[in-house]
């Protein structure tokens, strides 16, 4: 039976990961937020974020998906879709 996860729940679980990775506990996530809005969100931290989220939710991203992600909203959508199909 496929798992389901609510959008709010994904945000709730993603927020501490962002806080820890980018060293900013006051970071407020939003759909429109991009790497340009967050200090230290470079390629290395992006890949660390992907790997941490993969482990947290038990999912796998492909290289194309990692490249295609434009903002936090798309990232959350991708997590919901992957959790649903796992």
């Amino acid at each position: 039976m496929p798992r389901t996860i609510e959008r709010d729940e994904v945000y709730r679980q993603l927020t501490p990961i962002f806080h820890a990775l980018f060293g900013n506990p006051s970071l407020q996530l939003s759909d429109a937020m991009t790497a340009k809005d967050v200090a230290r969100w470079d390629s290395l931290n992006h890949i660390n974020l992907i790997i941490t989220v993969e482990k947290k939710f038990g999912i796998r991203f492909t290289t194309a998906e990692v490249t295609r992600l434009q903002n936090v909203g798309q990232f959350v959508d991708a997590v919901i879709q992957k959790v649903g199909s796992s």
Binding site: L44, I51, A64
Partner: protein, 472 residues
């Protein structure tokens, strides 16, 4: 043909733009291709067109096949394309380097050297690294199913050969350029004259008023590092750091400005890199299009590749080192360029290892330190050999100063000091960001200043040299 030449500005550009304004559809695309071929043929040798057209035709054809097949057939067509693209790049750019390295041919008079001399003498077609990476990203995206293969040959050909970006970038992706070319083919070119002219003028000024004069002072100094004073050594290393920035970002500004004459927006390539606060920030501001290419088509795939170590710190570190090694090799087929890439890889790793401590420093200290570290990397890049790098760096440390060498302050050194101070100031200004878009709102006084700077740039153009990044 150089952007900074009267041949380009008077004989080539005006007729190309006038005719472009009158054409639509396939005729416009064909005209863009034709004018780009003429530009490229005069960029070096007529035969340069051969490898470029071969790559274009090969990838246009193979993309159709990759899009229409599945399984092993799809994989085979993809591999043929990779081998074709990388094979040409390897032959023209790296065969001499690998043969020299493999056979340890150090002595130019040796018999073995003479035997391989024919291969060594292969000329590098201008811009081959740029258009190869552009077509590679297209083929990889078609293979991944990210994009539908382009069926209009002239549209694809215009994407590869569009003369503003062909020889030294910005490295433009298919999804950035093909839709814009389609748009102008349907509705005609929609030039943004003012924004284009200002950006072109800024690029020209960077090249002719800063990069070239600095080069004229430091080239003879670097050619004989033994004769440098410590002051001269320091000024020459900072001078080169500024020369390469003004040279390459100047070219990018001109390319983006030229794109705007057609109503096409090429991607930003520089964003005031010398105000970067750390090595990671630097690579998000320097040669941005190459950084993004390496990230998307090399670093991410290496980290995400299947295997036991997927996602481990070892894998991430190794992927970064490989990426920076290849980034160095992309810049030039010699070990100093490789060293330059590895040096930046080490800086990135050290920064990520100690970023909490680094970020406690005042931002001005971080920016200054980062600029210093980047400049030391350019010493490796410019030296061409370990021997020169050692002697140059030795002079920085005050080693082996010959008794006859004055401390400095002779006229060329004073001129260089002036260029370094002015150059550093200009490099930190926002209009150096290639995307500065407030030209339309400039007041009359600033317009007069821009006019004067442009007149001086044109006057000094007679002395202009080739662009450093032409050789890549």
């Amino acid at each position: 043909m150089l952007f900074n030449s009267f041949k380009f500005l008077i004989l080539f550009l005006p007729p190309v733009l006038v005719v472009s304004r009158r054409l639509r559809g396939q005729m416009l695309l064909f005209w863009i291709c034709l004018s780009s071929f003429v530009f490229y043929a005069f960029a070096g040798h007529f035969w340069f067109l051969g490898p470029m057209l071969f790559t274009t035709a090969l990838d246009f054809f193979l993309a159709q096949k990759i899009g229409a097949t599945e399984g092993w057939k799809k994989k085979t067509f993809f591999l043929v394309s990779l081998c074709g693209n990388l094979g040409l790049l390897f032959y023209f750019k790296y065969s001499g380097f690998f043969l020299r390295t493999f056979f340890h041919i150090g002595n130019a008079d040796s018999e073995t050297w003479q035997r391989f001399n024919l291969v060594m003498r292969i000329l590098l077609p201008a811009g081959i690294s740029f258009y190869t990476f552009q077509t590679l990203s297209y083929i990889i995206d078609v293979y991944r199913g990210e994009v539908i293969p382009e069926r209009n040959f002239w549209l694809f050909c215009a994407f590869v050969s569009f003369f503003p970006h062909l020889v030294a970038g910005p490295l433009t992706r298919h999804d950035q350029l093909i839709p814009q070319l389609e748009r102008i083919a349907q509705g005609g070119t929609s030039p943004r004259w003012r924004a284009g002219v200002y950006l072109f003028a800024i690029g020209l000024a960077k090249k002719t008023l800063l990069a070239d004069p600095i080069a004229r002072i430091i080239d003879p100094m670097i050619a004989a590092p033994g004769a440098m004073s410590p002051l001269g050594a320091w000024l020459s290393v900072f001078g080169y750091s500024l020369q390469i920035y003004f040279d390459f970002s100047g070219y990018s500004d001109m390319a983006i400005g030229l794109g705007r004459f057609f109503g096409i927006e090429l991607p930003q390539n520089f964003n005031t890199p010398y105000v970067a606060t750390d090595p990671s920030d630097f690579w998000q501001r320097w040669h941005i299009t190459l950084t993004h290419w390496l990230r998307d088509y090399l670093f991410y795939p290496l980290v995400m590749m299947r295997g036991k170590s997927r996602g481990s710190t070892t894998r991430v570190v190794l992927s970064l080192v490989i990426t920076m090694f290849l980034a160095g090799l992309w810049h030039g087929a010699n070990w100093m360029c490789v060293l330059f890439g590895l040096y930046h890889g080490a800086l990135l790793l050290l920064y990520h290892g100690f970023k909490d401590a680094w970020n406690t420093l005042h931002h001005l200290i971080r920016r200054s330190l980062n600029f210093f570290l980047v400049t030391m990397g350019f010493l490796l890049f410019r030296s061409g050999s370990l021997q020169v790098a050692r002697r140059w760096a030795g002079k920085l440390a005050g080693h082996a100063v010959q008794p006859g060498i004055p401390l400095g302050f002779d006229p060329p050194i004073l001129r260089l000091l002036g260029f370094v101070l002015i150059g550093l100031g200009i490099a930190c200004l926002p209009f150096c960001a290639s995307k500065y878009d407030r030209f339309e709102r400039l007041g009359p006084a600033w317009q007069v200043v821009f006019g004067l700077v442009t007149v001086f740039s044109l006057l000094f153009m007679n002395y202009s040299s080739r662009f450093i990044y032409y050789q890549f």
